[in-house]
Symmetry: C2
Subunit: 202 residues, 2 copies
């Protein structure tokens, strides 16, 4: 199975380029050159740029959810688990900044697959959060609550804050970005406080 090897190589090279310069500013020829092949050879494995960027997206989404699940499982409480997600997202954004940017307004407008992928990710993430919240209710940490609803509110809040930075075309500097994350956490902290059983509050 040399073919799968090549495909993996190509994805790797594509991610490197995409993460630095964004999908738009990366040409297939560049990726091919990085691997010592021509764009036609590359086209044999990924017939067009879309299929390549979709494959990259899928790979990265997998990595993201692996991290999310790990953090949700490790965190000692549901409240901390939720707040951890801000960190996970931050790490991800820093690693794949240009890709995330591209996944935002840029790709949203070609409403086809990108929007679906986004919606899928949203559903999956809120579902995981909701599960963790239920768990928190079960353990007596949290009051009874409508977990899907709360999860969805948490998601929207995080997304909203992110849009503030990502929505604009300028590239956020590290400081701005860090501050934003801590604001997000502070807000989520307040939200989670309202959901805690008294016994748990500090």
């Amino acid at each position: 199975m040399e073919a799968n090897d090549k495909r993996a190589q190509i994805l790797e090279a594509a991610i490197r380029r995409f993460a630095h310069f964004g999908v738009q500013k990366t040409t297939l020829t560049e990726i091919a050159d990085d691997l010592g092949m021509t764009k036609q050879a590359l086209a044999y494995y990924y017939p067009d740029k879309n299929s390549l960027s979709e494959a990259v997206e899928a790979l990265i989404l997998t990595e993201f959810f692996t991290n999310v699940e790990a953090h949700l499982a490790q965190a000692p409480s549901a409240a901390e688990a939720i707040m951890d997600l801000v960190e996970v997202k931050k790490t991800f954004f820093e690693k794949y900044a240009m890709l995330m940017r591209a996944a935002g307004p840029e790709l949203m407008q070609q409403h086809s697959k990108a929007a679906d992928a986004r919606e899928g990710a949203r559903q999956r993430l809120t579902h995981l959060m909701a599960q963790r919240l239920e768990q928190g209710v079960g353990s007596g940490e949290l009051k009874p609550l409508n977990a899907p609803e709360v999860a969805s509110l948490v998601f929207d809040t995080m997304t909203a804050f992110e849009q503030c930075v990502v929505g604009r075309q300028m590239i956020p500097d590290a400081r701005t970005f860090s501050e934003l994350c801590s604001r997000q956490k502070a807000v989520l902290q307040l939200m989670m406080n309202g959901l805690r059983e008294e016994a748990w509050k500090n």
Copy 2:
């Protein structure tokens, strides 16, 4: 003082145009025509477009804060007062949609006065909210809290949600906008719940 009369008339006409079509898409000639005068006559009162739009902005900000203060005073509790602000903002946005849009990314980039005005409004609004929160603490509704910090978090949350809609260039339809407001309220509700004294919770 006929001059002040004229100025008021001009402002009125300008607001009508600006609110519908935005500052950019409105020409001084149009405003002047609405009033049966020429743009040169108009220029006598407002030497350039900037001074006119700044005057309009100032007028509208005053209206906004008048509403805000009224709502903050009327609301039976601090929590409700905070949530009312979402409604005030919504009403305002609907009334002056194109102006608010213009005040967003468009004007932000000419970082001079617009950014200052925005920052001023932020400070004033968070200050009012903080006051109201302190009042809530005083009346035993809320736990002791860092009022300026919480106010600032509330402000950021509201702003973040707004950016989601305003930040994009497309014009939000009424449904989207209403939904967004109720999401905002739900989040604020959770935040405020975390700050309430037990006796007040339902």
